[in-house]
């Protein structure tokens, strides 16, 4: 059962807001393109923030400082995700042929 207390909301909400701001400052595109491998401000940043917050909460506990650090890390990860996991447009090419 999730507990919606003040600290929990600050942890998750703070991390989300910081990640969106840092993603915007890192010039990630605002438009969501379902077919593209390039990251944008919202995807996959939001899911990385939520996952890392949950892992950190189970391992080390939670406070707003951890939230801010996770937000910054998630935005940087999202920016360079295309370099870590490069994608190939196999389906598009085979469809044209």
């Amino acid at each position: 059962m999730i507990v919606l207390d003040y600290n929990n909301l600050m942890f998750y909400g703070g991390a989300l807001i910081v990640s969106l701001i840092v993603g915007f400052l890192l010039k990630l595109p605002l438009k969501v393109n379902k077919e593209s491998f390039e990251s944008n401000v919202f995807f996959p940043t939001i899911f990385i923030v939520l996952g890392l917050c949950a892992i950190t909460k189970f391992l080390f506990g939670y406070n707003i400082v951890y939230g801010i650090i996770i937000g910054i890390i998630s935005a940087i990860f999202s920016k360079y995700a295309i370099n870590l996991f490069s994608g190939v447009d196999y389906g598009v090419n085979s469809h044209n042929n």
Binding site: M1, I2, K34, F43, P44, F47, G51, L84
Partner: protein
């Protein structure tokens, strides 16, 4: 006398199966799995299904869910993580599914969003309404994948193709 609780459990598993089935088929269809094969393995599976009389778009769908962890695997992982760690386990599941998706040459939208919607559905049915247990979702998802991949795959591909057409994906 022990027959009635068993039947009630079976009915609950079937309800969980239907919820899981609808979740992953709708999310996967919406994010374009029936449109194009993501990798060549999906193309091979689709062509095999088509040569046996099935639908090519349903075949792309089935090939894609074999070749990368999409909303189908996302629903299963969300059920298992929810069982072990609660609601926040579902969030960890979404992160892991995203990494798995990207390793399998998939943009990752279908898998992560399918995991999050599955987590929310499990939260609504298990924690808010308290009508189903989380175990039923794990069993239900295994049965739901079996109905697509194992049990009559040719008819399943035709059904998936029709669903994709009615959702205007293809």
């Amino acid at each position: 006398m022990e027959l009635i609780p068993t039947i009630i459990e079976l009915i609950k598993i079937i309800i969980a199966t239907i919820i899981c089935w609808l979740n992953f088929v709708i999310v996967d269809s919406f994010f374009g799995l029936p449109k194009t094969p993501g990798v060549s393995g999906a193309n091979v599976i689709a062509n095999k299904i088509k040569s046996k009389g099935g639908n090519i778009n349903g075949g792309y769908f089935m090939g894609n869910i074999v070749c990368s962890p999409d909303a189908s695997a996302g629903t299963l992982i969300a059920s298992m993580f929810y069982y072990v760690l609660g609601f926040e386990g579902g969030l960890i599941g979404a992160l892991l599914v995203y990494i798995g998706n990207r390793l399998c040459n998939d943009p990752g939208y279908a898998g992560t969003i399918g995991t999050i919607t599955a987590t929310m559905l499990i939260f609504v049915f298990c924690d808010l309404l308290k009508v189903l247990n989380i175990e039923y979702f794990i069993a239900g998802m295994v049965i739901a994948i079996f109905t697509i991949q194992g049990f009559l795959p040719i008819y399943a591909s035709k059904l998936l193709g029709n669903i994709a057409k009615s959702l205007k994906v293809i």
